[in-house]
Amino acid sequence: MRAAESVTTSTSPDGAHALRWHRKDLLGLRELSAAEINFVLETTDAFKQVGTREIKKVPALRGKTLVNFFVEPSTRTRTSFELAAFRLSADVINISASTSSLTKGETLKDTARNLEALHADILVLRHSSAGAPQFLAQRLKASLINAGDGAHEHPTQALLDLYTIREKRGKIAGLHVAIIGDILFSRVARSNIFGLVKLGARVTLVGPSTLVPREFEKLGVEVSHKIDNVLPNADVVNLLRIQHERQRKEYFPGIGEYTRFFGLTKERAKLLKPDCLIMHPGPINRGVEIDSDIADGLQSVILDQVTNGLAVRMAVLYLCGGIST
């Protein structure tokens, strides 16, 4: 009888989930393994289901305090994190740059230490400087979730994009994903590239050469400056918002010209495969990177992304905020 030996194994009957989560912080997708990314996506399945219940709230993070610390303006990401925290029964405080003491000259570290002195358990940080989350994560006991740092990473946005692709197409490996627009200044693009490449997708970046330099090929992706060549064989197109507020003249000739060369117009959309997904992290500039009819069309999964964003953020808060530190 070899029972004594076999009982020490912890494999569940369905054989799944050999991996367990050990991270207190989510800083970016660059440092996550494919297995960890898949683990978050599987956990998201469970939390998405909570949204269909009569009582859309679970006690998982009851008694924990989450601070939404948004040094850079954001409405949708902040409210998504806020609602995710409510659904997990955590208490939430929102602090924006204008209401914080940062404007009075307090350093980022001092502000964060003050938040920690209030026994905040989870800090969700949006910051205009790349690396700010890493800086704080090393210095704080609280869990740190990166909600976007400069042009560096926006991990929960990429996770919700991955989740949406997986949900709609049943897989990610082998799919051809085109990311179109301002790649150079986009943290969404970077996080998406890391995640998609790790999960085995083929990625093509599309945009003007000033915003999509060939340097990106080092990350394992293809670069194209001709959208019409890429659209016919894409399984997913992810259109990034043209960030007027960050554009400088030397990178970007003008909105009209961008739309003419890279906008997903009604005419261009005819080049797409019938089952190609159209994604956009929002907020969309109708008539700039995407035509209004296309944004509201059958291939568009833009609103699914919003719904899935809530579930992904619940999963991330549960995983990072739920482990004892």
Partner: protein, 192 residues
């Protein structure tokens, strides 16, 4: 008693596959007896072994009464009261219950009843889906040491244990051979 060779702990066999089969068959009979409106019963297994046990009980009820019960999954991980106190989180899985629950009897099914905290979490989880007429509980093993005022309605086997022992249930999928073992701590055995 003979020691199991080279193992740090000793596993005492409690039930084999045949004993599990008979116990689950008896539970099926008891469920039929206590629920005259059998078609209103929903079996909700707690992942992962409770799901398999619920599936087998449903199989016996179909054999005996020709009634096919609705089977569901109730995940308790996000309803537990010890999140944040353990270095490893329990894996969460999606729950699946036939809705609405109003007017139904939900029978929660698990492999081992111990402190009662898992069942409490399961009841909370069920209530977030709606308000069933009643909730009952079936466990393959009741090992005692309750920390909450909870009892099982259907028990496969009562197994007196001490708190430093472990009960291992192998049923379904990769769990081979099937059976139930009681694992005693190392020191207790060596001193014998």
């Amino acid at each position: 008693m003979k020691q199991t060779k080279q193992n740090s702990s000793t596993a005492v066999p409690i039930m084999d596959a045949e004993a599990i089969r008979r116990a689950l068959q008896r539970i099926a009979h008891e469920i039929i007896e206590r629920n005259p409106q059998l078609e209103k019963v929903v079996l909700a297994g707690i992942p992962s072994r409770g799901v398999e046990i619920a599936r087998r009980i449903a199989g016996f009820i179909l054999e005996i009464e020709k009634v096919e019960l609705e089977a569901g999954v109730i995940d308790v991980a996000m309803h537990r009261d010890d999140v944040g106190t353990r270095p490893e989180l329990p894996v969460v899985r999606a729950s699946k219950l036939p809705l609405p629950l109003e007017g139904r009897t939900v029978i929660v099914v698990d492999d081992v009843l111990y402190t009662g905290r898992t069942v409490r979490a399961a009841m909370d989880a069920i209530n977030s889906f709606g308000r069933p007429a009643r909730i009952q509980f079936a466990a393959l093993i009741d090992r005692g040491h309750r920390e909450l005022p909870i009892r099982a309605d259907y028990v496969g086997k009562n197994l007196p244990t001490s708190m430093n022992e472990k009960v291992q249930v192998h049923i379904g999928g990769a769990d081979q051979p099937e059976g139930v073992w009681l694992t005693k701590p190392k020191t207790a055995n060596e001193s014998c």
